[in-house]
C-alpha cells in the first residue's frame, strides 16, 4: 500500500483536510511530515498542502522553499514519484523551481473563496488519471494570489507540451473572462512539470470530497493520485 507524505510547514492549514481525504475517505495511508525533516524515505508521494506557510510574508511560498524537507521533495520529484502542490503548495513548488511561473495577486486584489468550474486538459496526470479528457469538475478555490504568470515563451512551452492540467472554465466548459477568477494567464489553474509527475493546482480538491461539502468532485482527483501512484510504484 502506498504511503503518502503530507508536508507541514509553519503556517500550513490544509494538511488535515488532505490527510482526511486520503485516509478517512479513500482508506489510504497518509502521514503528516514536519518541514524540519530532511528525508521522505519510505514515502511514495508527497503533497504540499494549502495554507499560509510563514504567513506568506515576503512572497507566497517564498520562505518555505528553504525548509529542509524541500530537498527531499526535490529528490522525490527527480525520482519520478508524484509531488503535488495544492494552492500554497503550488506556490512553493514554483518558488522552488520545480514548476514554472509565479503567482501574482488576484486581479480583484482580494482573497477569493468560491466554487468554480475546471476543465481537465489531460487525463494522464497524477491528479486527472481517473477523469476523462475535457471533463468538467466543480471545485472551490481559496486564495489571494492565484493569478498565474509566466513569460510568453514558457506559456508556449506549457501549451505545446500539454502541460496545462486544469483550466478555469464556465459551466458549459468554455473559457471566458467571467469564469477566470483571478486573471490567470491562459486561465491556468494547474500545470505539470516536463516529466509529468509534479503537479501544482490552485483549486482545493481537499475541500470537496463529500457531497455535503458542496460537491465530491475533489474525491476524483485524490482517486487519480492513488491510482497513478500505484501504477508508477
Amino acid at each position: 500500500m502506498p504511503r503518502f507524505a503530507v508536508c507541514v510547514f509553519p503556517g500550513s492549514n490544509c494538511e488535515e483536510d488532505v490527510q482526511y481525504a486520503l485516509q478517512n475517505v479513500l482508506g489510504e495511508l497518509a502521514e503528516l511530515v514536519w518541514h524540519k525533516e530532511s528525508s521522505l524515505a519510505g514515502y511514495d508521494a508527497a503533497i504540499l498542502p494549502g495554507g499560509f506557510a510563514h504567513g506568506d510574508y515576503l512572497r507566497v511560498g517564498a520562505i518555505a522553499r528553504f525548509s529542509p524537507i524541500m530537498d527531499a521533495v526535490r529528490a522525490m520529484a527527480d525520482d519520478g514519484k508524484p509531488v503535488i502542490g495544492i494552492c500554497n503548495g503550488f506556490q512553493m513548488l514554483q518558488e522552488a523551481g520545480l514548476l514554472p511561473g509565479a503567482m501574482l495577486r488576484n486581479q480583484t486584489l482580494t482573497y477569493i473563496c468560491r466554487y468554480l468550474y475546471l476543465r481537465a486538459e489531460r487525463a494522464d496526470s497524477p491528479m486527472t488519471q481517473t477523469l476523462a479528457n475535457g471533463e468538467i469538475v466543480r471545485i472551490p478555490i481559496g486564495h489571494a494570489d492565484g493569478n498565474f504568470y509566466a513569460d510568453d515563451e514558457t506559456l508556449d512551452t506549457l501549451e505545446r507540451d500539454s502541460r496545462v492540467v486544469f483550466r478555469y472554465v464556465n459551466e458549459a466548459g468554455e473559457r471566458d473572462e467571467s469564469s477566470n477568477p483571478n486573471g490567470a494567464a491562459h486561465a491556468i489553474a494547474g500545470i505539470t512539470n516536463e516529466q509529468g509527475n509534479v503537479v501544482g493546482l490552485m483549486p482545493h480538491p481537499d475541500r470537496c470530497y463529500e457531497p455535503e461539502l458542496g460537491t465530491d468532485d475533489g474525491r476524483k482527483l485524490f482517486e487519480s493520485l492513488v491510482a497513478w501512484t500505484k501504477d508508477h510504484a
Binding site: 494549502g50 499560509f52 504567513g55 461539502l213 458542496g214
Partner: protein, 737 residues
C-alpha cells in the same frame, strides 16, 4: 504633572483616585496609576454595565463555564465542549479599519485557544454607514480585508455573520468578532494562577510601544483628538498567532501547564493581575526578562503595551524544559519572567527594584461599580404602529421587490464572505449566505450551528424589544437549519453610558435579552460590552448583537434555506400581522425610520422552535428559511437562490385581509418559510397543530419565474435570474459608486 492632569490623561475620576489611595493606604506611583487606569477602565472593569449584566441568565444543565473566564464553555456531548465568545473591536476599526478589524479577530481567537480549545469557526457582525459615503466604503473594504487576512491565515473558516448599513453607523462602524472552538470536556484550561513558586512564562511576540492605552481609548468617545491617538493602533501578525495556537495546544496536551491567559486589552498588566486574582495568588514579574522589540522602554510602557499575539502562562515547577522544548519546535521563545507568590500582590521588578506592588484583587476584582442614572427618552412614548394604509401603495410590487433586494442590508453579502475562507478544515456544511453557519464535527454524527444577529433599528425604537428580538431571531435561525440552541454570547454596542438615556437603553436591552433567553432556555455564557460608540456627541443605534450556538444531533438532518426540488409545496409557519413599523420596507421604499417594531410573543416564538425541532428531526422539510428583514417577500426571494448559484422559481398565492405590501413586507416575528415534499404534508400539518403553530400553504416550487398573487390579484411576476442578479450585485454596485 499636576494630579488633575494626570488623572485626565489616565481617564480616572477624582473619586476613583481617592478610592485607590484609601485602598493602598498611600499614593500610587506612576506605574501603579497606569495599572489602575487600564484595569479600572470601562473596557476592562465593566463599571457601568456590571450591575445590569448580573440579570442575565447564565446557568444551564450543559454550561461548564459561564461568564468570568476568557470564554464560555458548553458541554456538547461525545466528551466534547464548545468554547465560544463574541467581542467588539469598534474603535480600532474606525481608526485603522484593516488592522483594527484584523486584531479584533486575533484577540477573540486567543480567547478561545487560551481555554484549550481548537478554534473551528469564526463569524463577524459588521455595521457601516451608507456606501454612498466614500469613507464608509473604505472602512468596509479595510475591515473586511483585515478580518479575511487574519482568519484566513489562521486556517479557521468564517462561516457566518451579518452586515447591516444604517446612517447611524456613519463614521462609527461596529466590528464584532465571534470565535468558536472545540475542546475535550475534561481538559478545559482556566486562567487561575496556582502553586506558589511555579514559574510564569511569557510567550509569543515581543513587546513594543504599540497600543499603549488602547483599553482607555476604547472607553472614550471619538472627537478630533482621536487623530492624535493614532499611534495606539496595533499591527496584527496572524502567522505568529498561528504558531502560538499550535504551540499552546501542544503544550496543553502535556502535563506541564497550570494556567494560561492571553494578553489582550491592557496587555501584561491585565493578564498577570487577572490570573493572580482568580487563583487568589500573587505574581511577581521581572520586566528585564520580558522580550522587547525596542530598546529603552520604560516599566510603564512595558506594563501597558497592547502588542498583539502574546500569552502568559503558569507552568508546573520542574517542567520548564518541556515548555521550552515545545515552543522551540515552533520557533517561538518562552521566557520565564516571574513566579507565583503567596502574598496576593502583583509585584513588578525592573532594574532590580520594585516598581509597582498592588494586590491583584484591587486591580481585577475591586474596580468601581456604578449604578448610573437611567432615563427613558421622551420620544419613546410617541412611537406608534405603522400599517400598510399609512403609506402610499407602490404601483408595481415587482419593482418594489427589486428595490428591496437592492437594499445593501438585504442584498447578498457574497462580496464580503467570499473574501473569507469559509471552507478550510472541510467541515462547513452550510456556508455563509444562509440562516446559520453549520460545521460538522468529524468523528461524531453531529454538527454545530451558529449565528450572530441584532437589529439596531428595532433597538433604537424599543431597546427591550431590540434585545429580545435579537435572541429570538438568532434562535429562529438555528431552528431553521434544524439545530437546538445550547448557549449564547452577546456583544452590547452602545453610546456613552454617562448619559441617562443611553444607560436606559442598555438596561432595557439587557432585560429583553434576559427574558428571551429565559423563555427559550438558552444561557448566556459570556460576552462583551462596548460603550462610547459616539462620534462628535452622536450615539449609534443601541446595538445588542447575540450569538447563539446550537447542536444538530445528526448532521444529515441539517436543512438548507433554498428550495430543493420543483413541485414541493411552500408553507408559511406562523402568522403575519400588518406590522411595518421600523421595517426595512419603510426605510428602503418610503424613506421612513419610525414606528413601533414588530411585537414579539415569546410563547409563540417558542412554539415555532418546538415545531421546527420535531419537523427537522423527522426530515419533513426540504428547505426552511427564517423571516426577518424584509419579511415574507424577501424570504421567498432568497429561497429561490442556492449557495452555488442554482436557482428555482415559485408560484405563490396568498389570501390575507390586508394590502399586498403589508403581506409581503411586514416584519412580524416568529415565522419561517418552508418547502415540503407533497408526501410529508399531512404529517407536518398534524405536527403544527400539536404545537399550535398556524400553517398556511402559499405556493409551489418550480419554473424560472417568481409569480405572486395576493388576494386573487397578480402582484409580482419576475424572472428569477433577474431578481438574483439584482440581489447578487447590489453591494458591488454600491462600492463602485
Amino acid at each position: 504633572m499636576i494630579l488633575d492632569e494626570k488623572l485626565e490623561a489616565h481617564n480616572l475620576t477624582r473619586d476613583e483616585y481617592d478610592t485607590i489611595v484609601s485602598k493602598l493606604g498611600r499614593e500610587p506611583n506612576d506605574n501603579e496609576l497606569g495599572l489602575f487606569s487600564v484595569m479600572w477602565s470601562e473596557h476592562c472593569s465593566y463599571k457601568s454595565s456590571r450591575v445590569h449584566l448580573k440579570r442575565l441568565p447564565t446557568k444551564g444543565p450543559n454550561v461548564l463555564q459561564g461568564p468570568g473566564e476568557n470564554a464560555g464553555v458548553v458541554d456538547i456531548g461525545e466528551g466534547l465542549a464548545a468554547v465560544f465568545k463574541v467581542e467588539s473591536h469598534n474603535h480600532p476599526s474606525f481608526i485603522e479599519p484593516f488592522q483594527g478589524a484584523a486584531t479584533g479577530v486575533g484577540g477573540i481567537i486567543r480567547d478561545i485557544f487560551t481555554m484549550g480549545a481548537r478554534p473551528i469557526a469564526l463569524m463577524n457582525s459588521l455595521r457601516f454607514g451608507p456606501l454612498s459615503v466614500a469613507k464608509n466604503r473604505s472602512i468596509l473594504r479595510g475591515a473586511v480585508a483585515g478580518i479575511a487576512n487574519y482568519g484566513n491565515s489562521m486556517g479557521i473558516p468564517t462561516v457566518g455573520g451579518e452586515v447591516v448599513f444604517e446612517d447611524s453607523y456613519n463614521l462609527n462602524p461596529l466590528v464584532n468578532a465571534f470565535c468558536l472552538g472545540i475542546a475535550p470536556k475534561e481538559r478545559i484550561f482556566l486562567a487561575a494562577a496556582e502553586g506558589v513558586g511555579n514559574p510564569v512564562f511569557y510567550v509569543g511576540a515581543k513587546t513594543g510601544k504599540d497600543g499603549i492605552h488602547g483599553a482607555t481609548m476604547a472607553s472614550a468617545e471619538f472627537d478630533e483628538a482621536a487623530e492624535e491617538k493614532r499611534p495606539t493602533v496595533q499591527v496584527g501578525d496572524p502567522f505568529m498567532e498561528k504558531l502560538l495556537l499550535e504551540a499552546c495546544l501542544e503544550l496543553m496536551e502535556s502535563d506541564a501547564l497550570v494556567a494560561i491567559q492571553d494578553m489582550g486589552a491592557a496587555g501584561l498588566t491585565c493578564s498577570t493581575c487577572e490570573m493572580g486574582a482568580r487563583g487568589g495568588m500573587g505574581i511577581e514579574i521581572d520586566l528585564d526578562k520580558v522580550p522587547k522589540r525596542e530598546t529603552g522602554m520604560s516599566a510603564y510602557e512595558i506594563l501597558l503595551s497592547e502588542s498583539q499575539e502574546r500569552m502568559l502562562l503558569v507552568a508546573h515547577a520542574g517542567k520548564e524544559a518541556k515548555v521550552e522544548a515545545i515552543f522551540d519546535k515552533w520557533d517561538l521563545d518562552a521566557s520565564a519572567i516571574g513566579r507565583v507568590t503567596e502574598d496576593g500582590l502583583l509585584r513588578v521588578i525592573a532594574d532590580g527594584r520594585t516598581v509597582a506592588s498592588v494586590p491583584n484583587r484591587y486591580l481585577a476584582d475591586e474596580g468601581p461599580v456604578y449604578e448610573r442614572a437611567l432615563e427613558r427618552p421622551a420620544s419613546f412614548a410617541t412611537q406608534t404602529e405603522v400599517h400598510a394604509d399609512d403609506v402610499d401603495e407602490p404601483s408595481d410590487l415587482g419593482e418594489t421587490l427589486v428595490q428591496m433586494l437592492s437594499s445593501h442590508t438585504i442584498a447578498s453579502k457574497h462580496w464580503i464572505y467570499e473574501q473569507y475562507d469559509h471552507m478550510v478544515r472541510s467541515n462547513t456544511i452550510v456556508m455563509p449566505g444562509s440562516d446559520a453557519g453549520v460545521v460538522r464535527i468529524k468523528g461524531t454524527p453531529m454538527a454545530l450551528a451558529m449565528c450572530l444577529d441584532g437589529n439596531g433599528r428595532y433597538a433604537s425604537l424599543d431597546p427591550y424589544l431590540g434585545g429580545a428580538s435579537a435572541v429570538a431571531e438568532s434562535c429562529r435561525n438555528l431552528a431553521a437549519v434544524g439545530a437546538t440552541p445550547i448557549g449564547a454570547t452577546n456583544c452590547l454596542n452602545f453610546g456613552n453610558p454617562e448619559k441617562p438615556e443611553i444607560m436606559w437603553q442598555f438596561s432595557q436591552a439587557v432585560d429583553g435579552i434576559r427574558d428571551a433567553c429565559e423563555r427559550f432556555g438558552v444561557p448566556i455564557t459570556g460576552g462583551n460590552v462596548s460603550f462610547y460608540n459616539e462620534t462628535e456627541g452622536v450615539g449609534i443605534y443601541p446595538t445588542p448583537v447575540i450569538g447563539v450556538v446550537g447542536i444538530i444531533d445528526d448532521a444529515t438532518k441539517c436543512v438548507r434555506h433554498h428550495f430543493q426540488q420543483p413541485g414541493d409545496l411552500i408553507y408559511l409557519l406562523g402568522e403575519t400581522h400588518d406590522e411595518l413599523g421600523a421595517s426595512e420596507y419603510l426605510k428602503a421604499v418610503h424613506a421612513r425610520i419610525d414606528g413601533r417594531p414588530p411585537r414579539l410573543d415569546l410563547d409563540v416564538e417558542a412554539a415555532l422552535h418546538g415545531l421546527m425541532k420535531d419537523a427537522t428531526s423527522q426530515r419533513l422539510l426540504r428547505s426552511a428559511h427564517d423571516l426577518s428583514d424584509g419579511g415574507l417577500g424577501i424570504a421567498i426571494a432568497e429561497s429561490l437562490f442556492g449557495p452555488l448559484g442554482e436557482t428555482m422559481g415559485a408560484a405563490v398565492a396568498i389570501e390575507a385581509p390586508r394590502r399586498a405590501d403589508g403581506v409581503l413586507f411586514s416584519e412580524t416575528q416568529s415565522r419561517i418559510l418552508a418547502s415540503v415534499a407533497p408526501e410529508s404534508v399531512d404529517t407536518l400539518s398534524a405536527l403544527a397543530e400539536r404545537h399550535g403553530v398556524p400553517l398556511s400553504r402559499i405556493g409551489v416550487t418550480g419554473g424560472e419565474r417568481l409569480d405572486i398573487q395576493i388576494n386573487g390579484t397578480h402582484a409580482i411576476s419576475e424572472m428569477v435570474a433577474t431578481l438574483r442578479e439584482t440581489w447578487w450585485t447590489a453591494i458591488e454596485r454600491g462600492l463602485s459608486s
